[in-house]
Symmetry: C2
Subunit: 105 residues, 2 copies
């Protein structure tokens, strides 16, 4: 990853996850790959884009709030979220946003 | 840049700009710096986060749709948008999204 995502006509939802990593790399990359794989299998998942420099930005796209809720509560994802809070991120913000318009080149 | 942005209580708006750059660097970095400076002076601008790897992701935050519209129509920004389409980006997508919830570590 990460290639540009082709999304359907709005409305749909975006989860904007911005983070600063700790220096603790213990299992992070492997877990990130696994979460990407697992997310892409969820009902209502539309795609994900990700980049990191000083700040990491991951934007995942979802059909509706119900799909986001189900993913947030996924058992394996809950474990990853806990490890993220405890070990991998010094700070993060998750924003849930309804995409109302989009245009492309 | 780019440091994590502290945003107010939702609702507010996010502009999610994802792009692939061309190899043409002619003036790009200078213009990107200028647009960042100019955006931050706009009424209703709340902050911006940006990172680029394979894909570039810039998320800017705004008080409301009116502030986004005014920024989109800013004369200097219109010139930059034209150069972006003509020279700097091989592909991009702009998504306008209403942030409904946020939570942080």
């Amino acid at each position: 990853m990460s290639q540009p995502v082709i999304t359907p006509e709005p409305p749909y939802y975006a989860v904007i996850f911005t983070s600063i990593r700790t220096s603790d790399d213990n299992g992070y990359s492997k877990m990130a790959d696994r979460m990407l794989q697992l997310a892409s299998q969820q009902d209502g998942f539309l795609g994900v884009e990700s980049a990191r420099e000083e700040v990491g930005i991951t934007v995942s796209y979802w059909r509706d709030l119900e799909a986001i809720r189900a993913w947030k509560q996924n058992a394996e994802h809950l474990q990853a979220q806990q490890l993220g809070r405890d070990q991998w991120y010094s700070t993060f913000t998750t924003r849930i946003a309804r995409v109302e318009r989009e245009y492309s080149l």
